[in-house]
Symmetry: C2
Subunit: 242 residues, 2 copies
């Protein structure tokens, strides 16, 4: 068993199933929510009828990279073509899928829900729905998706403490009180208004675009993200919660 | 092309090659080093004769999980069975391996080099050697291994700032000045002695084991890691470099 096979015989090894799953987060009705999709109720498929993270098999003809595959899955489920997308980790083993050895590469995406196109236009006929993250964690999800979802929530919450990540959940332009509300919804606790305001502006990732309608019908300065390619990591003294 | 195939036809899709690579770090001669292995000089194999990260194909019969596979690769190359091992990320695409669509799951390991068994006893006949990380980065490595190595170095250096990670590079028992020296070697800069001492002890991950021989032949308190399962994340006020 321990003999190292030659390269040629290794290529003829049985290969595992390879999938990509995307944990898609958005803020809806002042709740931090995640998109789930229901598995087909076909008993020949694993976990029939259970809710699961959107995802599926890598397509070696269509996808040039893992990231391409994640972008494709995101677009298939939401219509969204650009958003914040980050690799979360890999889960692989011989027990996680009854069809055989399987490895999934999980990503998480932050979208603003206004980007979402009408669900009826979304390709495929599978049922999808948004759930508050705590409700989603209490469901019985397919595969090891509860574990993956839990890791994604932990990652986002820990990054919220020191990056501009929550801004990707917002429709532009937005006001600073609206941005603060999103930080609070993701973290699940209130933050000090004047410290928040100073830190966001000092971190220099926002661009003023002029007065817009803010909360309670009052005008306030509107902002958009200067650079949508990546989130800004705040210097330690600027961290949101300090 | 965009029609969603049924589950059965998806299972007959071409599957990518799946590998696991391990970036193995150790301190040697006061240098932060990484283990590389030379690709066989067989022209039918990709990147013949180039240095590469240790790793190879997942074996669906032998490995029950991705982590099992990483542990097996680490043991094959070093003889080490336990060490700090952390998932780094996945790199996958149709261009990274001339043999076809390929995805690798990269891990990094921190070992103390005294754990290493004689290289002649290590299975396989491939040449392996330790390189200072900066020298390794300047080499032409096989596949996208320079990118993976670079990501691993960044991860370790950023974690060194706020975790007990470097302790896993040390043979036990060790003194606090020896531990400080390892932090300094990984980070590439000196640290304040009394602040370092206080922070390490306050972080409560070390256990005193009695006097041992320290630097310059003087006795000093020896320590070992209380819990080898995982690294301790320091509270912000205890961070090593503050």
């Amino acid at each position: 068993m321990n003999k190292i096979p030659s390269s040629a015989s290794k290529l003829s090894f049985e290969r595992p199933l390879v999938t990509v799953d995307v944990v898609i987060f958005a803020i809806q009705n002042e709740q931090f929510t995640v998109l789930l999709t229901r598995r087909p109720a076909v008993s020949s498929d694993p976990f029939p009828g259970l809710w699961a993270l959107p995802g599926g098999f890598l397509d070696v003809l269509q996808d040039h990279t893992l990231l391409d595959c994640a972008i494709r899955k995101l677009k298939d489920k939401t219509g969204v073509e650009t958003s914040y997308l980050e690799q979360l980790g890999s889960w692989g083993g011989d027990k996680r899928d009854p069809r055989g050895w399987s490895v999934t590469q999980a990503y998480f995406a932050l979208i603003n829900v206004k980007q979402e196109i009408d669900q009826k236009q979304v390709r495929g006929s599978t049922e999808t729905a948004w759930f508050a993250v705590d409700d989603a964690l209490r469901k019985r999800l397919a595969f090891d998706h509860t574990q993956i979802l839990s890791a994604a929530i932990d990652r986002v919450r820990s990054k919220v403490e020191y990056t501009s990540l929550p801004a990707f959940l917002m429709e532009e332009a937005f006001t600073l009180p609206q941005l603060q509300r999103v930080y609070e919804v993701v973290l699940g606790r209130p933050m000090d208004k004047s410290a928040f305001r100073r830190r966001m502006l000092d971190a220099d990732f926002l661009e003023a675009v002029g007065l817009i309608d803010g909360s309670l019908g009052r005008s306030a300065m509107g902002y958009r993200i200067k650079n949508r390619v990546t989130a800004v990591t705040f210097p330690r003294t600027f961290r949101a919660s300090e």
